[in-house]
Amino acid sequence: MNPTSSLTAPGTGVKGSGPGGKADADRPASGVTAAERLLSLVQRQGVLAVLLLVVVIASFAYPTFATLDNSRGVLVQASFLSIVALGMTLVIITGGIDLSVGSVFALGGVLAAWASQWGLLPALLVPLLVCGAIGTLNGLLIARAGMAPFIVTLASLLGARGLLLAFTDEGATTYLVPKGSAFAELGQGTVGGFGYPILVALALFGLGGLILQRTSFGQTLFAVGGSADAATLMGLPVARAKVTVYVLSGLLAGFAGALNAARLSSGVTIIGTGMELDAIAAVVIGGTLLVGGAGSVSGTLWGVLLLAVIQNLINQIGSLNSSYQSVVSGGFLILVVVAQRYVSRSRRTL
């Protein structure tokens, strides 16, 4: 008798049709194929390649682009958005979204400028406290009350903007940061020509990458985004992870706002609108899946830089109206997400 003439019970049904749920039992369970590696590399580092390409071309085309001064300017400009986008990356990896960061960014700046009259520490603590509270509220409503992140953070976008207006006499008051204070120095000082905000952003990204890739908490974020149900059944603290990312997002947005206020020496009330969408765009361009479960902070960094470089280039060209900036970012966004879509599609059918 054929020794393999055994059969699974006929009552077997097709279940758990994950991406691999096809009839691939006959496929060798071998290692990662070269093609898969390449695709995953493109997905992860494709932006970096595009960024380098743009930088190289721009350096040749516009001599003013590759100067040290210009690079420093680009980097400082990018540092604030990058800090906001860092928080957004964590949120998006868990499958969520935080639309409130623009308002929170502005609120953080105003609060910091107001509190800076009492010194450096209050100028940092006050915005962190308030923005952290907003993040906590977002997180609790999403993770504990089970409401859609999109709509909850949409409401806190309005709420935070309302708070800001209430705090500044409907936007009439602009708080100024005392000249020469330690807080102003934080925004304007430099090390080797590079502004503190750049260094702070880099440090935060280093820390963020470490936490995301090398700690259990980071792994939990990926698991929550990949499959919240599975994560729950595996005994991972899903709700806690969700609340934490929104708190972090609020804190980072508020902190970025404070840094920005320090740099501008005042709590500007009208900034931050649309910033959430820039941040999302940077994160998505950086290769983080908007559905959650996959992504990296380094990709986000490249995404932010790419947006900043494009903006700078459009300024360099001069003859171009600054509104081309948004046209190009919008175009890039479409390109990247469509490419991502096809990459992940071909990955699945490999």
């Binding site: 409401a155 903007r161 309302g162 081309y324 948004s326």
Partner: protein, 324 residues
Amino acid sequence: MTTQAAAAPARATATRRNTTAWFQEYGVYAAVAALLLFNAFFTEHFLTVDNLRTQLIQVAPIVIVALGMALVIGTEGVDLSVGSAMALATALLPLYLGYGLVPALLVALLAGAVVGLVNGTLVSVVGLQPIVATLALFVGGRGIALVLADGQLKQIVNPDLLALGTGSLLGIPLVVLIAGILALAVAFLVHRTTFGRQVVAIGGNRKAAALAGLPVKRVLIGVYVLCGALAALAGILATARLTASDPSSLGTLMELSAITAVVVGGTPLSGGSVRVLGTLAGALLMQLLRATLVKHDLPDSTAQIAQAAIIIAAVYVARERRSR
């Protein structure tokens, strides 16, 4: 046997469920009524024809955009690019008014439809999430509008176009009349046409709809095109009222107002249902709320915070529905 066991406890929780269901169903209308009642007693000159007229004129563009948004949300989607579609429409108007009003209007509407076409294609053919797909044109659309208008605000002097914004028929402002007719049309579309039923079915279960032979891609594209065209129309009417084309500011945050109106009106974000009357009431509620606060000398900040609270409350109530 399961059904028998189900009967008794079902009755026990019925009361609570009915209360929630009542709020889901009629909460928004009750809120509008309560707000009107409050104003009737505590706000001077609120329930006057003039004031109500002003409120309706102000809410009309939001209603028009929200109608399209309701359809999109009914398919389990969302359209962030409506503000950009409005900006595009307003940017194109002065460029083509030289050829006459009708061509200019058609070009503006077409622009909105093209925005919708791009969105719809990205969502249905490429398979992107609606938030990302429409985010691209949210970012890029206004940029294109500004490029077209050269970043400039232009005064509109065409009397026919301006009449759209200020004229009235039988005492009803044209803007309000148009919004009302469109609401009726969308309600008819949703409830009585094949297209409308397909929209709701696709939102309710896309896979099942596809297997039932529904033209899923076509319907999705159609919905986004409608939404874009309605947004463009709102942009035209708003331009007519402003008597100027200002692509840099027209329609900013419109996506928020429209989504708020739809959600507060009881259409679930998870798709599968479109509540037209609820959307009207939702838009009206937010408008009246703001007006009430303004009349009582409460600042804009308070209005925004109140708006945020109402959105949260509305979604919290709707959440119960989904968990049933």
